[in-house]
């Protein structure tokens, strides 16, 4: 499997791609924070935020619909927010008798539900844009500059580096299981559920030991190459005037969104 199978980075060159990763991290977090603060039902502010997203989409040469097309990822979680529709606050809109339970959707509940949904949908799009325009090692380096503990960023860097290696290892295990689980079409193959979990558990154990022993070899190889407990990067990460300008401008836009949301 190629590394790109997971990586959400897009090899384009654009204004947003060239920005300092720190700026992108700070603006993304500020944008998500701003969405969280906006009051329920401030549709004009949500629309302004979405407009901002479209501008970033356009500036990063990914196409206007790029982040929208990938935002389906929050769909499974909508299920837990659906219960908000039946909030007892507000005026009832209808009454659905399902036999074992009577559901009463209210206007307050509907506004709450769609606000949660919109906030989540806007926030996830910004995060999608962040990783689509920033290489992951640069992202980790930005977090290091933003004073995240060194141990943590190094662990994350290793996780990223070996994610693909170990995923390949897992795929090999899965392929081996497939190959050993021959069966006739239409007939049951393999053992009972307990047997199947036992096989999967042994695979997890096997994967664990292979990873554990691999980390030993990796550490020795790193020591041999002069590892001092610190990962380096060739990217200088210097803030230019354009970076500062974008930061200030973006924060102003976010303040404006807040203004639109709170002043009616």
């Amino acid at each position: 499997m190629h590394i790109n199978a997971f990586d959400r980075f897009h090899f384009h060159d654009s204004f947003i791609h060239r920005l300092d990763p720190r700026i992108k991290v700070v603006v993304t977090v500020a944008f998500i924070l701003s969405n969280a603060i906006l009051p329920d039902g401030s549709w004009l502010a949500f629309a302004t935020a979405w407009l901002g997203l479209l501008v970033v989409n356009d500036l990063s040469n990914l196409g206007l619909g790029y982040s929208f097309k990938r935002s389906y990822i929050i769909l499974p979680f909508i299920l837990v927010a659906i219960t908000a529709i039946f909030s007892p606050l507000g005026n009832p809109l209808a009454e659905w008798d399902l036999g074992f339970v009577t559901l009463i959707p209210t206007d307050f509940g509907l506004v709450r539900f769609f606000s949660v949904l919109t906030r989540s949908w806007l926030s996830v799009q910004m995060a999608i844009l962040l990783v689509a325009t920033t290489q992951f090692p640069d992202l980790i380096h930005a977090f290091e500059h933003l004073r995240l503990p060194r141990v943590l960023t190094t662990i994350i860097a290793f996780l990223y580096r070996y994610l693909f290696v170990l995923t390949n290892e897992a795929l090999r295990l899965l392929r081996a299981r497939e190959a050993r689980s021959a069966g006739l079409p239409g007939q049951k193959r393999g053992g009972k559920l307990i047997w199947r979990t036992k096989v999967t558990g042994s695979m997890a154990g096997q994967l664990f030991l292979r990873s554990y022993e691999r980390s030993d070899r990796i550490y020795n190889a790193m020591l041999a190459r002069g590892y001092t407990g610190h990962l380096r990067t060739l990217n200088p990460h210097k803030m230019t005037r354009a970076d500062w300008l974008v930061l200030i401008l973006s924060l102003f836009v976010i303040l404006f969104i807040q203004f639109v949301g709170w002043v009616r």
Binding site: D7, P39, F86, L152, G201
Partner: protein
Amino acid sequence: MLLAPAPLHIPDGFLNLVVSLIFWAATVIMVGLATSKTNQTLGEKQVPLMGIMAAFIFAAQMLNFPVAGGTSGHFLGGALAAIVLGPWAGILVMTAVVAVQALLFQDGGLLVMGANIFNMGIITAVIGFGLYRTVIGRNKNIRLIVAGMSAWLATMAAALLTSLQLWLSSTSRLALVVPAMLGVHALIGIGEALITVAALAFIQETRPDLLDKEATASSGGRGWIVAGILVSLLAVLISPLASGNPDGLERVADDLGFLETGSSKPFEILPDYTFPVLGDTAISTIIAGVVGTFILVGLLILIGRNLRKNRKQ
């Protein structure tokens, strides 16, 4: 492929600011402690090890097994990581996993990442390791059984905490979300427990040195036993209260002033609102019963152990 919808990864927007920040604060404290502890006790060699273990958790989540009707069991790994690597290292590993899931795959949000790490990394480590720590001197079967139970309980506690956070943010209604989450995760937790047990059994056979008494005892002190049992008890006490009698819990939270902190007015459960299929009896009572039994067994083992120790002296 890696993006199996895990209902525990809360996206941004589902928790309000106050709840997000409270759990970020708790997570920062715990991760900070874990960082300094691992810096003290482990050499720089442990850093690549933990990174690769985090990648292992990631890859192991791909190993699914068919259960029935097209659904499949998955593996979360928090309890296993805490048992094999020790609780502090387990917390760091799961923090890295949750962070990368959110950053690289948008599986879980950034502002709510504190809550996600707390649910999936810290609670699972406290329960998983804390309960396992009580039986480290025992024979293999008892240890495996307790490890499996602690993995199941850790999954349930994570689900419970997730639903409580959603409720405190007034995103979900308590009477609906708690039984639904606990019901689903009672099944997911069984898969988690079975894989944890099978993986531990395999490691026990091939590398017993990783699981021997001294190795486990040195990775986390006795405080973890207390913390593990306390958190488990708390989960067991809250879950029947939350699913059977949500009004009670809501009143407690109201008295403590929790609900005013939310950005919008909290939900008040209608007095005639009933959800007999999920809310009142069947699932919640069964869950409470199973959890209670398990805690009782754990306490008995603990008491028995201490009694025997006293007799020796």
